[in-house]
C-alpha cells in the first residue's frame, strides 16, 4: 500500500513535470551556429596616437584613480560623448595602451523611453562612440568588445529623469 501510494506520487510528479515542458522548454535544442565571416574591426582606422603612457602605473583597484570611474553618461537619444567623458576615456585609453593584454567590454545602455530595438541600436552607437575614442587614443581593436543591452538592463529603476540620466550610459567592464 505504501509502495503503491509513492508510485502514484511519482507518476503524478512526472505528469506535472511533463505538463510543464510539453511545449518543449528546451534550453539547448539542436543548435547550429552559422557564423558567416564576422568582419573584425568596426570600420575605424586606428591613428596610432598612442596616449602618453603615463598611466601605466595606474591601478584599476585604486579608488582615487580616474580609472575607478567606469561609466560614461549621455544625453537623451544621443551617442555624443561629452568633454568630461572624453577626458575620462583618455585615462582609460592610456591604461589600455600601457597594458596591451588587458581587455575591456563596452556595454551600451539607454533609458526606457521609445522602442526596444531602437534602443539596442542607440546603446550600440554609444558603445561604438566610446570604442572610437579609445582606438583614436591608441587602443588596439582586439582589446575592446562592444555589446548593447538597450533599455533591458537599467542601472536605476524608476520612470523619471533622475533614473533615466543614470541609465543612458556606457559601462567599461575590465
Amino acid at each position: 500500500m505504501k509502495y503503491m501510494f509513492s508510485s502514484v506520487m511519482v507518476l503524478l510528479l512526472i505528469a506535472v513535470m511533463s505538463g510543464c515542458s510539453s511545449t518543449g522548454d528546451k534550453q539547448e535544442g539542436p543548435v547550429s551556429i552559422e557564423d558567416k565571416g564576422t568582419s573584425a574591426d568596426g570600420g575605424v582606422t586606428t591613428s596610432g596616437a598612442a596616449g602618453s603612457g603615463s598611466f601605466g602605473n595606474s591601478s584599476l583597484d585604486d579608488p582615487n584613480s580616474p580609472l575607478a570611474q567606469r561609466v560614461i553618461y549621455f544625453e537623451y537619444d544621443s551617442a555624443e560623448i561629452t568633454m568630461d567623458g572624453q577626458d575620462l576615456l583618455v585615462h582609460h585609453a592610456g591604461y589600455l595602451v600601457a597594458n596591451p593584454t588587458v581587455h575591456v567590454t563596452l556595454e551600451g545602455h539607454t533609458d526606457e523611453r521609445g522602442s526596444r530595438e531602437y534602443n539596442i541600436a542607440l546603446g550600440d552607437r554609444r558603445a561604438l562612440s566610446v570604442q572610437r575614442i579609445l582606438e583614436l587614443n591608441g587602443v588596439a581593436p582586439e582589446q575592446v568588445t562592444v555589446v548593447s543591452y538597450g533599455e533591458e538592463k537599467p542601472a536605476a529603476e524608476g520612470n523619471s529623469e533622475a533614473a533615466w540620466r543614470l541609465n543612458r550610459r556606457v559601462e567599461l567592464l575590465y
Binding site: L13, K26, G29, E34, I120
Partner: protein, 431 residues
C-alpha cells in the same frame, strides 16, 4: 515515511508553480454602438455533473473583447433554450438582443465531445448559422474560439481573430534572480506555455507566417544572438551571432527570408538573410541608426526606423535596395513600426513632448491618429484581422499589455498577477 511524503508534496508544489499564470483581461474603455447579442449557457449532457468547459462564457468573453459586440448580462437571459425549437424570438426582442447564440455540449462514451451551436437573427427570427463540431477535451476552448470567429464574421463582416495566439516576454525577480520568459498564450490569455526561460534578456519575438516558428533575440551568452524555434517541439537553431547587434528579426511574408539588424560592419544596418542558407545581403547604408525592419504584406518593401534625418522616423525602402522614402513627419520620434495585414496602416511608437504613445498612420490619407494615452507605450502588433493592436504599456510601476481597436475607441488591459509583461506579438491566422 512522513518526511518522504512531505518532500514529495513540496516537489509537486514547486513543479506545479512553474506552470505560467494566465493573463487576465479587463476591458478599460468601452465602445458605443456595439451589437447586442445574447449568448445562452450551452446545454450539457455527459457523465459528469457539469460541463468540462463553459463554452458560452468563453464565446461571450471573446465577443466582448472585440469591442464591436456586447453580450447581454446573465440577468437579461430570460430563457435558456439549447435548440432552435425552444426559442421565442419575441422575448429576446424585449431584452433588446439583436442576435442569439445557443448550443449544446455532449460528452460521448469514448471520451470525445460534440459541440453544436446556432446563431439566430432575433429581429428577423431567422437562423444565421447552425453547425456542429467533434472535439477532444483539449480542443474545447479552441472550438469555442472558432465559434466566436464564425459569429463575429457573420455579424460584422470581418474575419474573427479569436482562434489565434500571442507571444510575449515576461520578467520577474531582480538582480541576479531576474528571469526572462518567452511565452505563447491563446488570444484570450489562457493556456500560457513557456517556450524559453533565461536569466539574460529575451527580446523581439517574431512569428513565422505559418505560425509554426518564432524568431527571437537572446542574450543568454551575454551577447545578442538570433534564434528560430519551433513552437510545438521547442527545437531551435541559432541563425545569427555576428559581432555587435543581432536584432529585430522579421519574417518575410513567404517565410523564406528574415530581415534583421546587424552592426557587424560598424553601424546598425538592415540585412536580409535567407533562412535556409544563412546567406546575407545588406539592405541599408547610412551613417545613422537603421533598425526595426517590417515587411509590407506584398513582400516588396521594408519599413524601418532610422535617425538619418536627425531624429527617429519611419522610412520605406524597396526590398531589392534603392532610395529610402520618409513616411512620418509628425512628432520628434516615430519608431518600432508594425504594418496592418492589408498593408494600408502602420502602427508605431510616437514620441511627442516626452510622451510615448501608439499612433496609426493611414498610408492612403497620410493621416496619423494617436490611439493610446502613454506615457511609455511601445511594441504595437496588429491582430491578424487588422481590427486591434496589442501593445506594451504601464499600469503604475508594472509593465502590462493593452489592446486597442485601430480607431482608438475600444481598449482592454491584459496583465499578470505578478511580474511584468512586454513585447506582445499577435500570431498569424493559420497555424
Amino acid at each position: 515515511m512522513n518526511r518522504y511524503y512531505r518532500w514529495m508534496f513540496l516537489v509537486l508544489l514547486l513543479a506545479s508553480s512553474t506552470v505560467p499564470a494566465a493573463l487576465t483581461i479587463e476591458i478599460t474603455q468601452g465602445m458605443e454602438g456595439a451589437i447586442p447579442v445574447a449568448v445562452v449557457p450551452f446545454g450539457w449532457s455527459g457523465d459528469t455533473a457539469s460541463a468540462p468547459e463553459n463554452m458560452a462564457a468563453i464565446i461571450s468573453a471573446d465577443l466582448n473583447r472585440s469591442g464591436r459586440i456586447e453580450t447581454l448580462s446573465d440577468g437579461d437571459l430570460i430563457a435558456h433554450p439549447t435548440e432552435g425549437a425552444q426559442v421565442k424570438f419575441q422575448n429576446w426582442r424585449m431584452v433588446k438582443a439583436d442576435d442569439l447564440v445557443i448550443g449544446k455540449l455532449t460528452g460521448n462514451a469514448d471520451g470525445s465531445f460534440s459541440v453544436q451551436f446556432e446563431l439566430y437573427d432575433v429581429i428577423r427570427g431567422k437562423q444565421l448559422i447552425g453547425s456542429s463540431f467533434p472535439a477532444s477535451r483539449d480542443d474545447l476552448r479552441r472550438v469555442a474560439h472558432h465559434i466566436s470567429d464564425l459569429i463575429y464574421e457573420k455579424l460584422t463582416g470581418e474575419k474573427g481573430a479569436f482562434n489565434t495566439q500571442i507571444a510575449y516576454v515576461t520578467t520577474s525577480g531582480t538582480g541576479e534572480n531576474k528571469r526572462y520568459t518567452l511565452l505563447v498564450a491563446d488570444s484570450d490569455g489562457y493556456n500560457p506555455q513557456t517556450i524559453l526561460t533565461s536569466n539574460q534578456p529575451l527580446m523581439s519575438p517574431s512569428w513565422s507566417p505559418d505560425g509554426r516558428q518564432i524568431a527571437y533575440v537572446s542574450f543568454e551568452k551575454k551577447l545578442a544572438e538570433i534564434y528560430i524555434q519551433e513552437v510545438a517541439t521547442g527545437s531551435r537553431r541559432k541563425l545569427a551571432a555576428f559581432k555587435g547587434i543581432n536584432g529585430a528579426p522579421a519574417w518575410s511574408p513567404n517565410g523564406r527570408q528574415l530581415a534583421l539588424t546587424l552592426s557587424r560592419d560598424g553601424n546598425p544596418e538592415i540585412y536580409i538573410m535567407e533562412v535556409s542558407s544563412g546567406a546575407l545581403r545588406r539592405l541599408t547604408s547610412s551613417a545613422a541608426i537603421d533598425t526595426e525592419p517590417v515587411w509590407t504584406p506584398d513582400g516588396r518593401s521594408i519599413i524601418f526606423t532610422s535617425n538619418r534625418g536627425g531624429s527617429a522616423q519611419l522610412y520605406r525602402v524597396p526590398v531589392g535596395g534603392g532610395k529610402a522614402q520618409r513616411l512620418t513627419f509628425e512628432g520628434n520620434y516615430n519608431a518600432g513600426a508594425d504594418i496592418s495585414p492589408d498593408g494600408r496602416k502602420i502602427a508605431m511608437v510616437h514620441g511627442n513632448n516626452g510622451n510615448y504613445r501608439i499612433a496609426v498612420l493611414d498610408l492612403d490619407s497620410r493621416l496619423m491618429r494617436i490611439v493610446t494615452d502613454g506615457p511609455l507605450d511601445e511594441s504595437p502588433s496588429f491582430s491578424p484581422n487588422g481590427s486591434m493592436i496589442i501593445y506594451a504599456t504601464r499600469a503604475g510601476n508594472r509593465e502590462v499589455l493593452s489592446a486597442v481597436s485601430v480607431d482608438g475607441r475600444f481598449r482592454q488591459r491584459l496583465s499578470l498577477q505578478a511580474g511584468d509583461v512586454r513585447e506582445p506579438v499577435w500570431s498569424p491566422f493559420d497555424r
